[in-house]
Structures are given as structure tokens and as C-alpha cells.
Amino acid sequence: MQSKLPSLTKKILKVTLALAFWLGLWLILSKAVGIELLIPPPKSVILTLKQMLVQKEFYETCLRSFLRITCGYALGTAAGTAIGILISFSSVLKSIFKPFLTAVKTTPVVSFIILALVWIERDSVPVFITILMVMPIVASGIITGIESADNYLLEMASVYKFSFGKKLKYIYLPSAVPSFISGCETAIGLGWKAGVAAEVICMSRGTVGKALKDSQVYMETAELFAWTAIIIIISLILEKLLAKLFDIIFKKALQKGGYFIEHKNK
């Protein structure tokens, strides 16, 4: 503990310094511009945040967005895992799905949001968009992992006539675990941001995105800043929380399966 304390103090100091720098810059900018409607001072935003935090509606709004986007994230991860495994072992499926994954990855998210608004009901769009954003990242993680399976081990497996299931169990899946987890972790932040963007565009009722849009429409810039801060905070919490959750789940699952895999990305 004693040896850790100086580094922890250093870290806190660094974060405080960075925070002070950006808050200072914000204050200077808002004073320089002088119009609260354009750049509200930090004090106004903090006061608005405080008011929001005591309202029940605020928590309901956050929870609604959180549940929808998490649902999209879970479905996207499941679909990405299935597609990733299928693509890795079938050249036919690879030629079918690879262009689709590339198209999804390169197309601006807003195009999909507008298209989804045409196709499905408004409140389902954020879930659909989150699935669409998460799926290719998770699938790519699986594909990369399986493709990186050790050729020496595969040759050994061929000598000892390993069945496909055995190859999957002993070589492919353990090889894919680190990049799969890395893909899942990357997808969390991206899925959340894309989900909120979808809520903003399709004005999904009682969501963070809708609240953000409302504050823009009613020119409540301080509220707009406050909601943006909330989005960033939830994104950070989600990333940390899910990363920790993955750490626990995979550590337990791997231990139970008798695997020795360095699953934590460093």
C-alpha cells in the first residue's frame, strides 16, 4: 500500500491538473464570448446538473436509454460472435458477409439511422443502430483471433486427427478469446454513442438523446452541456463497468474450463 500511494497521488494530481486546465479554458472562452447561449460558464452547467440530479425523471431517462442500448449491445455481441465464427470457417459465408461487415463499418451511422427510421418504428431504432455498430467490431475480433491460431498447433492437431470440435475447444476458441474481449470492450463506447445519436435523430421518447435534442430546440445551452456531460460519464462508467464484468466472467469461465489464457488486454 505504501509503495502504491505515491503513484496514486501522482495520478490524482495529474487528473486534477488536466481537469483544472480544461475548466479554466472553458471559463476563459465563455467569458471571452460573453453570450451564455453560446458557451455557458461551468458554474451554470454545474448548477443545471445539480437540478437534474434531484429529479426522478432524470434517472428514468438515463435508465431507459441504458436498457435499450445495453439490449442492442447484447444482441449485437451475440450476432457478431455467431457471424465471426461462421465467417472464419466458411469461405462461402466469408464472401457473403465480409462486404456486408465492411459496408456497415464504413457507412456513416447517420445514414443507417435515417434508413432505420424508414424501416422500423422510431423507438426501436436506437436498439437496431447499436446492434449494427457493435456486430462488425465483435465479429472482426473473433475473425482476427481465429485467423491468428498457431499453425504449428493446427499441424499437430492434424497429426493427431483432432475433430473439428476438439480443434475449436483446444486451439481456435482460446486463440480468439483475447481479441474477442478487446472487440467487446471497444464496442461498448461506440455502441452507446451511436445509440444516443439514434435517439437524438429519431426523437425517441423519454431518452437521453431526446433530452439532448430538446435542450437544443429550446436553446437551453447549459442543459445541453449538462446532458453531454452525462453522456460522457455514462459512457465511461459503462466502459469501466463492462470491462470489469468481462474480466470477472471470463476469468471464472476460463478457470472453470481449465484454460490458461491471458485474457486481459494490457
Partner: protein
């Protein structure tokens, strides 16, 4: 067991390793394969095991072939016991690991073992596989004299029931009885 090789040609890039090579490998228990480094010993073994493509003909009277590679090739994600049991069953795996002095390493991750231990685990895997022909590529690499002797004894015992091809740089003066030697 006789392995017939007829007009075997194998090229790696621009280099010819074998050109119209014909031979009959007569194995009555143990065949030692010797030769200078890079002469194609491992390549020939891999062709016999069906791991390398070639032109010509190699006729092996069995498809049950076990192969201990020059590299250990142990699965790093599972324990030593699971590595060996993956090609046989738990009881057989335990028996061979014990024979080779690895009874305390059943649950160890392969990467935590010393080079000599990994070599022995790799040999245990090759021996526990129910094969008619066992190919061992440099099985004594990195072992001290005592362990080498122990391995020799185990292989001699095993060779009563099935055939072995051993690729090695080591000299065995009288260690293996009734052995044949192929010089490449």
C-alpha cells in the same frame, strides 16, 4: 513395417531436397534416421506422416501415425495432462506422464515447465496416442544424460509393441538393440 518410397521429389522454393529418391525403410522396432543438418530428415518424416506434399510415391502400411515434432507444440491454453489426454484418455495420459517423471506437473500450464519437461510432455503425448508408427523428431534435444537414458528405456519397451522412427543427432552406441540406421 516397411515403408516404400518411390521416385520421391521434393522442392522447397528453388532448393531440391529430394530428387527421384527411392528406398524401402524396414522397421523392426526402431529405425534411427541420421544425417547432416538440412539434409531433409524432418521433411521426409513429415511426408511419411502426410503433412507435406510431394511428387512420387510413399507407401505407409498404416494411417495411425504419431509424431513428436522438433518443437514441443504443446497447447499453451490447457494443462499438461489435458494436452496429453487430448490425443488419448486421462488414464493413458497419466500413465505416460508418470513414466516420464511428470507426475507433479499434471495441472501445470505447459509454459511454466522447463524446456526438458516440455520435451518429455511432448513425448508422453506422442506415446499415448494409439498409433502403429511413432515418429520422434529429435526427442532427446535438451535432455541431460540421465533423462535421455530414461527415455531410451521407455522407447525400447514401447518398440516391442509398435514401430518407431527416431530422427536424431545423438550417437547411440549400443543403447538401442536391433536398431536399423538410415543415413540421409
Amino acid at each position: 513395417m516397411n515403408i516404400k518410397i518411390n521416385n520421391l521429389t521434393k522442392k522447397y522454393g528453388g532448393k531440391t531436397v529430394f530428387e527421384n529418391y527411392s528406398n524401402t525403410l524396414e522397421i523392426n522396432g526402431i529405425l534411427l534416421v541420421k544425417g547432416a543438418s538440412g539434409c531433409g530428415k524432418t521433411t521426409l518424416m513429415k511426408m511419411i506422416a502426410g503433412l507435406e506434399s510431394y511428387s512420387g510415391e510413399i507407401s505407409v502400411p498404416t494411417s495411425k501415425i504419431s509424431f513428436m515434432f522438433q518443437e514441443d507444440r504443446l497447447i499453451p491454453f490447457v494443462s499438461v495432462l489435458k494436452n496429453v489426454a487430448a490425443v488419448s484418455d486421462i488414464e493413458t495420459a497419466k500413465r505416460y506422464l508418470c513414466k516420464l517423471g511428470l507426475e507433479k506437473e499434471f495441472n501445470s500450464p505447459p509454459l511454466s515447465l522447463s524446456g526438458g519437461m516440455r520435451r518429455r510432455a511432448s513425448l508422453a503425448r506422442a506415446l499415448s496416442y494409439p498409433a502403429d508408427l511413432v515418429i520422434l523428431d529429435e526427442p532427446f534435444k535438451g535432455l541431460d544424460e540421465e533423462l535421455k537414458q530414461k527415455e531410451v528405456e521407455i522407447i525400447k519397451e514401447e518398440s516391442k509393441a509398435r514401430d518407431f522412427i527416431i530422427v536424431t543427432h545423438e550417437s547411440f552406441d549400443g543403447e538401442f538393440d536391433n536398431k536399423e540406421i538410415l543415413y540421409l
